[in-house]
Subunit: 338 residues, 2 copies
Amino acid sequence: MKRPTIADIARRAGVTKSTVSFALNGRPGVSDATRTRILDIAREMGWQPSRAARALSGGRAGVLGLVVDRPARTLGIEPFFMQLISGIEGELSSRDIALMLQVTEDADAQRATYRRWWAERRVDGVFVVDLCVDDERIKVLAELGMPAIVVGGPQGLGGLPGLWNDERTAVRSVVEYLVALGHRRIARVAGLPGLWHTVMREEAFEDAARELGVTPSGGTTDYTGDAGARATRRLLSSSTPPTAIVYDNDVMAVAGLSVATEMNIRVPDRLSIVAWDDSVLCRLVHPPLTAISLDIPAYGAEVARRLADLSAGRPVTSACHATPVLAPRGSTGPAPVL
Amino acid sequence: MKRPTIADIARRAGVTKSTVSFALNGRPGVSDATRTRILDIAREMGWQPSRAARALSGGRAGVLGLVVDRPARTLGIEPFFMQLISGIEGELSSRDIALMLQVTEDADAQRATYRRWWAERRVDGVFVVDLCVDDERIKVLAELGMPAIVVGGPQGLGGLPGLWNDERTAVRSVVEYLVALGHRRIARVAGLPGLWHTVMREEAFEDAARELGVTPSGGTTDYTGDAGARATRRLLSSSTPPTAIVYDNDVMAVAGLSVATEMNIRVPDRLSIVAWDDSVLCRLVHPPLTAISLDIPAYGAEVARRLADLSAGRPVTSACHATPVLAPRGSTGPAPVL
DNA sequence: CGATTCTACTTAACCGGTTTTTCAAGCGTG
DNA sequence: CACGCTTGAAAAACCGGTTAAGTAGAATCG
């Protein structure tokens, strides 16, 4: 009933612990006959290595960590994280690495978690999400020498390897698409202004607008549906309301759609809506939302692969993962004739 | 630069490892003077215990596990899990316990994960979610003797402690509310038929319907928006369509609302909609959905508290946590006059 | 006042692996 | 046949904690 250890195996095989260890790890110095016998006994006894013992002597925990810094209520609603985690998981479990998750209330707690995890050797590395401008975490991680990969970039990485998506191209394709439909007043309801990807999308949006002769407008939010609804109400109440709005996430886009419905502004007849971050949510509402789509689980898997490599001591470089593509649905159409 | 160990502290303090260990753990047998000195040195050197070493000698990993068995795409959309995790986290982090997360593809993989985690001593216990009728996991956990708490119940626990909510009362209050509004044909779009909570809600719904003279109808789904939409279309196309529909989760309720909009059936004038599982999603759409609301983070925190106790060897009993309450919003109204 | 109990430590073993060192036997070779 | 070389395995140290057992010296006690 008790869990077998290599000492138990050694006793049964009539050899010493070290021989068992060598045999189980496929290292030389053990005859084929002995090795086979040991492996058979280990299998028969249902032996599994103790992670704690391995971590203690080998120095590796076999765990990677993810700290998410979002308030409880808003966390749940965004499908992004769960999809990312799901993708990360798929990759890690095939490598027998576990994922440790921590939800924190603020950035300070997040940095404290990194320090604690590293000091306690609980994890071999961490995924860094929601990269901010002047992100303090970068410094902490560099100081600790902790393997880390940024889920984002290419700006603001500060020496850490990152994996990002080509959002600039995606933003451009959205603006081009809307312009082709005749829209000239396009608004963007952005997410948190401190996040790098908000900054980058904003830049790309303004560049594209300028080049294509479009009047941009917009504002930043905290990603919540409420904020999205408020921003939408403000935009639609202006004297020169936009004919198309691009939202930085799906939740705000859905909220924006509700506001339009509530204000009796038909979508897509009088207003076109585009959501960043495609998810079931976008297909759930009526009309279904045109969205910028990305295979998030695949992104998570690739990020996980890289962090696993990094924490195993293999060199990892920064890279661009993919270009999100526009998935046109019922919420976008020709601009209304003014 | 190297991480300090208790041996380092011992050397600096001029005592032995064991004295340091006793001092740091607040155990008797150390003079106050020595204890203070040791604590000061430990603080100064920035000592943190090695989890691996503790796990190895103490036998406890300081980690609790959660295995979620949902396909990647649908996982993200349901706010329930993230809220639950968030609540669990809040409680665990205050006790310095970490949470290990694994997303699996099927029930077999889930059981395999339990076995592996236990064999490797990676976790001290697990949270069991989505309890099924004849759930194989119960047997595995009992066989392993692994501390576990079921997030659900009271039926189907098979000896495991559980923490559930009084859904029977909640179901009843919903039916009473709808009957008071004049509804006599009420449908229920249920979730997965194999889950215990689906079975219990179904029973409660039929009991309440019978007692209150209501004609029930409905069907089971896989919780996805698509399935919810299909079920809604079928119900609304029947010769005697329901005047109110209760959905087993918020995603399906939103999908149902879209279907009604698409079929030009005004909500709540001609159809009332109630969602189980309140979330931002319900307030996001127009009209906002009447929902059965529960403080999920608080539920998660209580569950975490219990599992932490259980894995620490303290006895834990099964209990009912709370009764979900009805939050009336714009999607419910008086039954249409036929 | 000698025996006993406390106090404050030290010594040493242990948890379950990995890794370095040591050693004996078998082998070919000049 | 003495020598070095290789091979297969044992012995022992180590990772960083916890903990049972042992031991001085001081306090208590009949």
